[in-house]
Amino acid sequence: MSEFTVLLVDDEEDFRRTLAKRLEKRNLQVLSAAGGEEAMALIRRSAVDVVALDVRMPGMDGIDVLRAIKAHDPLIEVVMLTGHASVEAAVEGMDFGAFDYLMKPVGIDELLYKLQDAYEARRIGLKRNSRGPTPSE
């Protein structure tokens, strides 16, 4: 599996930092952002393949960020992470084109596989770029 760039968006810095270290250890390029605005700025600045997005955050919440990302580049895949009473939000995210959602705390392998699947989907999407933007499961 080739390397790709993952953007971690989570307002919990401890969580974000550790998870970033662990993903890097698994040979991924990891960027991290504490909120929606920072995330959008990073996406505009550098190439991001997959976003791991916390649903509930202060300021711009996960759904808003998801819509902004999809508006910017529909081919960037987003995996929603949900920590609390926000399963509906995650499900709602699915309607806005999120790749999937996972419940926190999430096993590192589970997350890794999900990110890889998402990246795979992005690659397929990129290949038939001309045909249609909508990712499918």
Binding site: K21, M94, D95, I108
Partner: protein
């Protein structure tokens, strides 16, 4: 818990006993007081009446007998006064006189004779051959010559037949002589013998020696001198005085006696009767009263038993009703806040848990590096970290369940046939049921209307209830009865087991989140609270009834038209569903 039931039964028993005793006391005490008072009064009045009646009777007869005796005496005195000795000593003349006597007075006198002072009967008229009989040895003869007039006691005399005589003393040439006449004993007896009352009441006459002066028609009369005391008291009383009292006969029967003295206190007319006989009317009345009292008592007793039983049944029913009401009020108020609290806790717990799990994972990653491979505790580290991760996942599962309790879920509202759902869940649970020796019974209403709810949620409810029921049986086995029916507005179903039941103390807590009686790690205590949350969201109700030792039944009703239900969120149109 069963001890609480025993306490309660004990309480009801003592309450029943108290009601019973109060009813008995309140009814019996006035009954006893009034009846015994009336009986006592009646007894006293009746006794007095009987005594007065008997005294009147005796007084009348005493007067009659006295009169009879005096008349006989007067007859003889009159003859003795009217005729000279010579005339009377002539038997023919005497016979004429005797005939006249009998024509005038009937056969009152049976014979008549004249006796000289030497005891020789000079003349005699009568049925016996007593002319020239010698009387100077006879007892009466001595006494008759002492007084102007004399009436003897009853004696056998020369004729060998009981009789008594009346004499009048006269003098001829300074020598006394007497005219004597025998009073017909039968005639005299009739006067006395006619005094009879009841079955045992009769009269007789005794003399100062206690000897009988009349016949008693075969009735036993004490030959001992039971009535001699009457004569001793005689001087204290006027001649007309009547004495009365009771005594005990030789055979132990109680007697009432009434007596009057006759013949210048020489004789006593005694009327005696068994007390029982004398008071027969009273006793009959008393027996009727006792019978009525007894029947009344039995009626009161029966009523007290029925009343106390009935009251206790009603009190117990009222208590039970009150408990059920309390329980439901507590539940609904209680669970709203608990649900909110639970959601809040879940809310805040998942992130820290996620961080801990990540940190543990990071250490695991680092341990993979070769520098640590020499560490002798490497396996221990790995085990500990695995454990941290595992427990983190467990915490997540709990919060996930809590969240569904807090009415957050991704369920899809659909047309659901409850019967199909029941059959599905029952078949899914069949394996575990067999393992626990549990049998299923179902009575499903085939015409059940479909309801608009989330299939997965309702499935979860059924699954929880059936699993709980199976767990409750605890390998001892039993029967789980599942039924469905409809009442027009609602679809209802119940899951009933015949397991050990839920103790009362636990019954009102079972819908609380985290309340469990299962061992640590076996149950989260969330199953029923999730059921509660789901059913509430559907606008339905979940009810539980349980008896220790008999089993538990959970009954659920869900409105058929769910749109009017409270708490129903607009269904999210989910196209894709998470794996």
């Amino acid at each position: 818990m069963s001890s609480q039931d025993i306490d309660r039964n004990e309480y009801y028993r003592s309450l029943k006993r108290n009601i019973f005793l109060i009813v008995i006391l309140v009814s019996y005490i006035p009954l006893i007081v009034v009846s015994s008072g009336i009986l006592y009064q009646m007894h006293a009045i009746h006794q007095e009446k009987t005594r007065i009646h008997l005294e009147t009777l005796v007084k009348k007869h005493k007067w009659n007998i006295d009169h009879f005796l005096r008349e006989r005496q007067d007859n003889i005195s009159f003859i003795a006064d009217s005729y000279r000795f010579d005339e009377l000593a002539d038997s023919a003349r005497l016979a004429e006189l005797f005939r006249k006597l009998q024509t005038t007075y009937g056969h009152v006198f049976s014979d008549i004779g004249v006796v000289r002072a030497d005891g020789t009967q000079v003349s005699y008229v009568g049925p016996y051959l007593l002319e020239s009989a010698q009387y100077n040895d006879a007892e009466w003869f001595q006494e008759a010559f002492q007084a102007d007039t004399y009436t003897s006691d009853v004696f056998l005399g020369l004729r060998g037949f009981p009789h008594f005589i009346v004499t009048a003393r006269k003098y001829k040439d300074g020598q006394p002589w007497i005219l004597r006449a025998t009073v017909d004993f039968l005639a005299f007896n009739d006067v006395v013998e006619n005094i009879q009352l009841g079955q045992t009441g009769f009269a007789h006459i005794i003399n100062r020696a206690g000897a009988l002066q009349t016949r008693t028609a075969g009735r036993p009369v004490s030959t001992e001198s039971a009535y001699l005391a009457l004569f001793q008291k005689a001087n204290q009383f006027s001649p007309d005085q009547i004495q009365s009292g009771t005594r005990q006969a030789a055979d132990g029967t109680d007697l009432i006696y009434v007596a009057g003295l006759l013949k210048e206190n020489q004789w006593a007319l005694v009327f005696q009767q068994d007390l029982k006989d004398a008071y027969r009317d009273l006793n009959r009345t008393r027996n009727i009263a006792i019978l009525v009292f007894g029947l009344g008592g039995i009626a009161i007793f029966t009523m007290a038993v029925v009343l106390s039983k009935g009251m206790i049944t009603r009190i117990a029913a009222a208590d039970r009703e009150k408990e059920i009401m309390n329980q439901q009020i507590i539940e609904s108020g209680h669970l709203v806040s608990l649900g909110e609290l639970a959601a809040g806790i879940a809310h805040e717990i998942n992130n820290p848990v996620a961080i801990m799990v990540e940190e543990a994972g990071w250490i695991e990653d680092l341990l993979e590096e070769e520098t640590f491979h020499e560490s002798e505790n490497l396996t221990e580290f790995k085990r500990a970290l695995t454990q941290i991760r595992k427990q983190g996942i467990r915490a997540r599962d709990i919060t996930h369940k809590l969240l569904s309790f807090a009415r957050r879920s991704d369920s899809i509202i659909d047309r659901v046939d409850v019967n199909d759902l029941i059959r599905e869940v029952v078949s899914l649970s069949a394996q575990q049921a067999r393992y626990n020796n549990v049998e299923f019974e179902s009575r499903l209403d085939e015409d059940l209307p479909a309801i608009q709810v989330s299939q997965t949620e309702l499935q979860q409810v059924l699954f929880n209830l059936i699993n709980n029921a199976i767990d409750a049986m605890d390998k001892r086995g039993g029967v789980i009865h599942v039924a469905s029916w409809s009442n027009g507005d609602q679809v209802l179903f119940h899951v009933k087991d015949n397991g050990p039941g839920i103790p009362e103390a636990n019954l009102h807590r079972i819908f609380e989140p985290f309340f469990t009686t299962k061992p640590v790690g076996k149950g989260t205590g969330l199953g029923l609270s999730i059921c509660y949350g789901i059913i509430k969201k559907m606008g339905g109700e979940i009810k539980v009834e349980s008896r220790v030792g008999e089993g538990t039944v959970f009954e659920i009703n869900i409105p058929i038209d769910v749109r009017g239900a409270t708490g129903a969120e607009p269904p999210a149109p989910v196209a894709k569903h998470a794996p």
